[in-house]
Symmetry: C2
Subunit: 339 residues, 2 copies
Amino acid sequence: MAAAAEDTVEEEVGRVVEQAKELQETAASLIAKSTHDEQSVRQKALSLESSIRRCSSLLDRSNHLAPKLAAKLEEDLQKARCIIADGDASSFLPSKPQGRFLKMFLGPINVRASRKDVQFKVKEEYNSYRDRTALLFLFFPSVLLCLRSWVWNGCLPTFPVQLYQAWLLFLYTGLTLRENILRANGSDIRSWWINHHYCAMIMAVVSLTWEIKGQPNCAQKQRGVQLFLQWAMMQGVAMLLQNRYQRQRLYTRIALGKAKRMDVVWGETAGVDGQLWLLCPILFILQGFEAYVGLQLLRTAYKGVTSEWQVIFCGVLLVFMAVGNFLNTVEILMVKSRF
Amino acid sequence: MAAAAEDTVEEEVGRVVEQAKELQETAASLIAKSTHDEQSVRQKALSLESSIRRCSSLLDRSNHLAPKLAAKLEEDLQKARCIIADGDASSFLPSKPQGRFLKMFLGPINVRASRKDVQFKVKEEYNSYRDRTALLFLFFPSVLLCLRSWVWNGCLPTFPVQLYQAWLLFLYTGLTLRENILRANGSDIRSWWINHHYCAMIMAVVSLTWEIKGQPNCAQKQRGVQLFLQWAMMQGVAMLLQNRYQRQRLYTRIALGKAKRMDVVWGETAGVDGQLWLLCPILFILQGFEAYVGLQLLRTAYKGVTSEWQVIFCGVLLVFMAVGNFLNTVEILMVKSRF
Ligand SMILES: CC(C)(COP(=O)(O)OP(=O)(O)OC[C@H]1O[C@@H](n2cnc3c(N)ncnc32)[C@H](O)[C@@H]1OP(=O)(O)O)[C@@H](O)C(=O)NCCC(=O)NCCS
Ligand SMILES: CC(C)(COP(=O)(O)OP(=O)(O)OC[C@H]1O[C@@H](n2cnc3c(N)ncnc32)[C@H](O)[C@@H]1OP(=O)(O)O)[C@@H](O)C(=O)NCCC(=O)NCCS
């Protein structure tokens, strides 16, 4: 009886080891095979890309073509480009370089999702991260400002403000990492919006070292912090609106099953036209306020109320960011209105 | 002639569009096929895993087996486990959950490399990141301390110290992200070492808000900062030694072509035994110094030289980290000496 049991255990273990070896072989050959297949698709995609480029330059040089035909051919080429860039073949093309920022924080890891649906999920998650964030953006500063007037007699205590600034730093780091990841996944996000968040990160670090002075004469000394908080509140509102718009855009895109670069052909702002014209005035007001806060900071420094370098630095940075935001928004609007 | 050229361009474009469509189909079917194949390997791997578990418990209960046979069977099972966990099949198994920290910063992106060689590359890059870091860890504080005695008359100016603290924050964030990524890639790094870096991140943020007082009485008021810098220098030395050890370990592992979990069977410290016994006393000294710095900070706070909460907070945190480091190092040594 004991011998029989021994047999079974031994047999079972033997079988398991056999199976493990088989599995290893299956897995290895599967990997080898799919690497090979991928390689061939990759080759085809690359050669097709260069064919498209050749055709495109041929078309440009063929100025004897009937304009209607030329336009049709141009459109056909665009379609072919879309199929490569947004179809399943895209995952076999070499990805854009991931940028120094991601490399610095994450090392040489690949953050590109190979499936389209995962890429959409990443984008959708980015949007909902921003939604949550926007609410906190509204909530924290308003609580601080309310407590300031009602409880703290017009004088912000240091700790909660620093906590808020640390949160800002954390938040912007997350946003920047996510945006870099989106970009590696084929998003067309302008580099300015990412640079904008780098600036915001730097500002958060600097503001952490910014000594928040107490009584006497709180209201005057803390004018900078107070303006900063008000601006943060307004940014919360803008982010909420912006998110609504971006999400709508994403959904329209998924719903139509149409790919990004196809937008150029099929009408860039399909489905979200109205929202953009509502959003933009608000954005411009906000950007104006951003610049105003920056200038106010510079003024307090100039008038000698506060003399720390942090105040000047944040002031200059805010004005810089406001101007950059404004210019880029105008540029986007101009590009869009051309279609 | 013009008509002929027209023909060629049109034909060429037509061919390109055709090719694009074909490519799309090829890519889609390749993806579908490999998804299907992967699914089947995954199924097999999962069922094999549960077989191994069943065998293992069977073996545990079969106390009538000859001890030698039992040991052999146990070893066989371990081998099977290794093949699954470290062979090519491992990339088909569901990955460990990535942890809240990565999710918070990166969103739902998958950071797991599917090929073993990429995983080694990630580890190797982590080691060289630490190497570069360790040098800076030595360099920055020593420059600050030298300048303090020779140029600044014993009084550290605020800005360079804050710059250093901001760098620390950046550095620890990078380390923590990378360690979490390593873990997702199958590293057995203990959660304590990651928690340790979370603590270090928090400490860096807190130290940024720490007001660095100037004259008069600099030496006394800045005692905390000074100790902190000295400790950082020592940590640089420890990191360099630790890296040498870890790299040696990694190379031994790659060279022997042996997988991680096999270490348990084949001798955990193969090739690096000597180094570990050199490293450990230095680590213990460092951990002692870490605790000493923490206690000194608490003492300055207690004696009322500095009264900021940051000093107390950093003091407690340093003591906590030192104790944790010590306990974990001892635990690792005990585990290793058992083999
Ligand atoms: C003007 C605006 C609404 C246009 O948005 P849009 O129509 O999506 O612009 P584009 O077509 O150029 O977008 C290209 C890509 O960049 C992304 N994007 C655009 N603006 C972005 C922003 N501010 N932050 C992050 N991503 C942005 C889009 O989601 C899109 O991504 P996708 O390729 O993955 O789909 C948007 O750029 C915006 O909100 N800008 C103002 C921001 C601002 O000033 N904020 C601070 C106020 S103080
Ligand atoms: C004691 C020590 C040398 C043991 O190292 P080890 O032999 O690699 O330990 P383990 O076998 O438990 O390692 C398991 C894994 O964790 C990693 N690891 C161990 N200690 C680590 C640490 N401190 N930081 C990062 N990773 C670590 C190893 O590289 C290994 O990774 P892998 O599975 O990808 O190969 C190491 O843990 C150590 O240096 N500890 C002290 C750190 C310290 O106290 N620093 C602060 C001084 S003030």
